[in-house]
């Protein structure tokens, strides 16, 4: 695993106050694997970056890693995918992407995240699954 923090002192933003809405589940409470802040506080994910089309059963999440060479980008993406899998009805197709131009290996990350074989294989790995569960734990509270 990583030794030392890649971005030790991230900028922390205020969480958006949101009223109760009638949309699909929003991944607002996932913890960043590297920091005790939630992804929203780090502006890794914003509400605007989530696109939901209920009729066509389609969700697209675009997230922005805090630094360009963030090694956690894949883990964040995996967490997002697992959370969506667990929260959405199975009819949905999910598409999870790194925001264009925010990551060094953008194409590789996108490919890895949307390859269901590789996602399934990753979830078979108990270490990785533990990590994902730990990240998602607050969102089930």
């Amino acid at each position: 695993m990583v030794s030392g923090l890649i971005n030790a002192n991230p900028t922390v933003y205020e969480k958006k106050e949101r009223r109760v809405r009638n949309e699909s589940a929003v991944p607002d409470e996932y913890a960043d694997p590297e920091h005790p802040y939630s992804l929203e506080e780090l502006k890794v994910i914003t509400e605007d970056a989530i696109e939901v089309d209920n009729e066509r059963s389609y969700v697209r999440v675009t997230f922005t890693p805090t630094v360009e060479h963030c090694s956690m980008a894949t883990v964040i993406g995996l967490c997002l995918r697992v959370k969506l899998m667990r929260s959405l009805p199975s009819r949905y197709k999910m598409d999870i992407r790194v925001a264009p131009g925010t990551h060094a290996t953008e194409a590789a990350v996108n490919k890895q995240l949307n390859d269901k074989e590789r996602v399934a294989a990753a979830l078979e790995n108990p270490n990785l699954l533990d990590m994902v569960d730990e990240c998602l734990a607050p969102s089930y509270a």
């Binding site: 109760v20 589940a25 899998m85 929260s87 569960d133 089930y140």
Partner: protein, 1095 residues
Amino acid sequence: MAEPSQLSQYIESFVDSSRSPTQQAASLEAIASLLKNNQLTIETLVREMEGYLTTVDNIIRARGILLLGEVLVRLASKPLDDATIHSLIGFFTDRLADWRALRGALVGCLALMRRKSSGGMVSGSDAKAVAESYLQNLQVQSLGQYERKLSFELMECLLERYPNAVASLGDTLIYGICESVDGEKDPHCLMLTFHIIEVLSRLFPDPSDALAGFAHELFEILGCYFPIHFTHQKDEDMTIKRDDLARALMLAFSSTPLFEPYAIPLLLEKLSSSLPSAKLDSLRYLTDCTMKYGADRTAKHIEAIWSSLKEAIFTSLDSVLLFTPESLEGPDLPKNEFAAEALSLLQKLIVQNTKLFLDLIVGDEDISMIFNTISDYKNYHEIPLERKQRLNAVGRILFTTAKASQVSRNRVFECFFSRLMDILGLSARNSSGQPYFDESILISKRCNHGALYLSIEILSACRDMIASSETILAATSHTEETWKYLLQSFSPALTMGFCSAFICSSEGTHDAATYIGVKGLLILATFPGGYSLISKTVFEKILVTFVSIINEEYSKRLSWKLALKALVEIGSFIERYHESEKEPSYMDIVVEKILSLAFVGDFGIPFPLRLEALSDIGTSGRSYMLKVVQGLEEAIYANLYEVYVCMANKIHCEKGFEEVLLQFAINIWNQIENSTHFNASQTNKKGVLDVMMKAMKLAVANCSEEKQNIIVQKSYNILSSSISFPLEELLLQERFQIAQEVDNNSSRDEWVLSLFAAVTIAVHPQTHIPNTRSIVSLFMRTLLKGNIVAAQALGSMVNKLDLKSTRGQTSSDCTLEEAMDIILNLSLWIFEKNRSSSIQSKMISVHDTGLNDLSNGVGSCTSLQIHAILGLAWIGKGLLMRGHEKVNDITMIFLRCLQSSGRAGISHQEKSISENNYKLDLHSSVMKTAADAFQILIGDCEQSFLFRASAHVVIDTPLIVVLSDTKKIIPMLLDGLSALSNDVVDKDVLYSLLLVLSGILMDKNGQEAVSDSAHTVINCLVDLTRYPHMTLVRETAMQCLIAISGLSHARIYPMRTQVLQAVIKALDDPKRAVRREAVRCRQAWASIASRSLHF
């Protein structure tokens, strides 16, 4: 005898300073108990300890001596012979010189000095030796705090217990004490120090004694502590407060007159200090000191004291007088503590040094200045603020002076009262005996508010003094006193003066004028002693004035209130001092007039005001109360409703007017008897009846049993004579056609019945109710017509009836059993219209008789049934409150009612019943019965109303009862849930039922019970996650499923797939809340076996 080795172990462990404090304490206690139980003599102990007491090692010696001292403290009550005490005290006396081991010596000395005479005391010569050693060896101020405290305690003990022995030491003693207390700072020690000086002064009372030479020195030591400035934090020293110290110091100050030349100048100086606590303390000390030093010594300083005191009063009093009704009567003390102290000191000084002080007051320039300038301002509000304060202060001074003693009162009247009369222009009229001035010219002069205010102060002081000591009046009635002469001659004129203040007020409309007028008149009217001081004409004129204000000036709120208050005060004054001469006038002028207000409709006074006047006057005295109550009764027809409200309120607050209450209740009945029809308007009727019943209940409830018996008898007579059907026939009628009879009673019967019911509710259990059987059946009949009061009365009767028959029973009385039989028979009658067979047998075998028959018997009388059920509920309440087993029968009847009425409308009734019952701490046995019964019923017929009924019972039962019997209830609950889920109308019931289920699931015991039937519960909940009519139901079902996922793995694993499928569907729910719960639920269930979402 104890083992020597054990003893030396104890001693060693105490002396060894390396041991823990608990060990040391334990060994000390052990030694003490050995001595107490005579297993060890002191001699042996001392011998054993010899080495420790005499060693050259300071620490061990100190511990050793301390041990001996502490042991002696614990032996305070054990008798010791004189020789032992002598040698011990000798030892400790010597040890006082050993400053390294001082604590033990002090403790030992104290323990011995404090011994009671019963167990052997230290002799006088030994005590003297202790004192000498103390004075010679102890440098108290160089010791630590605890040792200082001990030394002071020792000195205090010596002074208090051996005064003669130590007094012989004379100068040495006083000098030694001076030396030891000088510069002390610790509060605990200071308390002792002050006390030591106090006791010391008592020891040398003679001015020529040794103390005289040291008085100055002693006071120098004491004086620097005044005023006490306490810097300790609150939490630091909880035991000693500033006030304690201040009091101790005060006692020390006043302990000997020898301090007088030093103390009084110091106190007077501090009186003008800017520190409030110092000022207050100075006043208190001055009071104490002047009283104790005696008149002669005080006289030396009298002028200085007077001028400081005057200044203090002038500056401390509020400048604003209150003109509210509340301040009209009462002590009228200044709220300012400082001013109150100052005035009380003034009064004491006047009593002590009357002549000197009065000369000072009379000759005082400030006071004369006020008198000279008083006529500059006519209206109180024109007076500048500073002048007002002065005026107020002079008023208080005069009040205090006049109140202080006979002589001072005479003097005040002579000097000031006559001057005031001059200022008011009244004396001129008086001197010639008849008025020769034109009234109108005088009015402006008479309205001098300042002068009026001062006269009020003087008069009220005078009145208070007479009132507080009635004997004085008798004793002095023959001696010719100036003040009495003056008062008698001026009172008519003064009355005019106050009245004119009133009249002026109507022009200027100032509070002050009204207040002063009313207060002055009130004071004049409340002079005790019949008409000897205030003539009858004056008194009556005052009353007339007040009554006319009440009658006419109701628009001016303040003056009206003040006048009313004044009248009430006069009334209670007459009552309190038994002024029999004045009572007739008061009765004639005030009570009659006010009473007439109740009747006159077109008077213009708002009705609430009239009632306020009435009830206020009523409270002023017993005799007026009676009169007012009579008046109120007569006024009932004039305005029934308000009068009764007023009445009910009044009864509530008046205790001890039993006669009046009886009279009131009987009179109501008399009126009902006499009137054949009611003219109260239809709209008002219900309200009046309610209030009337309330008043009746209160009146009866506050009476004793004999009075209640009278009322009950009276009311029963009226009831039996007036009800349109004879009571006796009631029982004979087996079956009467209630349905047809509904509402053919006159409204008068209803009133009589309701009032009778009210009486029945209010009486004590011991009160005899005649002809109980007929009454019970009468109430039964009435309640079937929907009269709730009758139902309540019946419940109350059932609650109060005797269990066993008493001696003097007549055939018409009955016990509880019989009453219950009547009740049950009658109520069953409704449901079995066409069955004449014995009802009693049916009662016993509820389950066996044909249930279908019962359910058919209802027919059309639904409203009748509702009434019957309500009635039963009240009866059940009565039974429940006395814990009677018949309540089971009532419950059975409920169940049958429920079963027999399958209409949707029934749910309302059911609710009221269950509420009535279950709120009353219904026993869980009833719940069990209900559950059993419902199971039987449900087994028989599949009707949704039954589920609904059972659901209501379950919902309204406290959860704790449900939990105690979960196994039985769960099947019922589940059946209910699945049956009710078909219909939209039942959604609320369904939801409440689901909440009960979730309550069970949250409980530990409940979970155990559920796990047996987990699959049925889960099936049911899975169905409910699709319930279309209510989001809350789906959400709660989901939460229940989450809770179930915590049950034992083996039970729920087989259901996993089914649940997950249902939950996945719920992920698509239209409502966000449900989806959210679904996600949680899915997570909970998915992680049971693996975290995979696939199954």
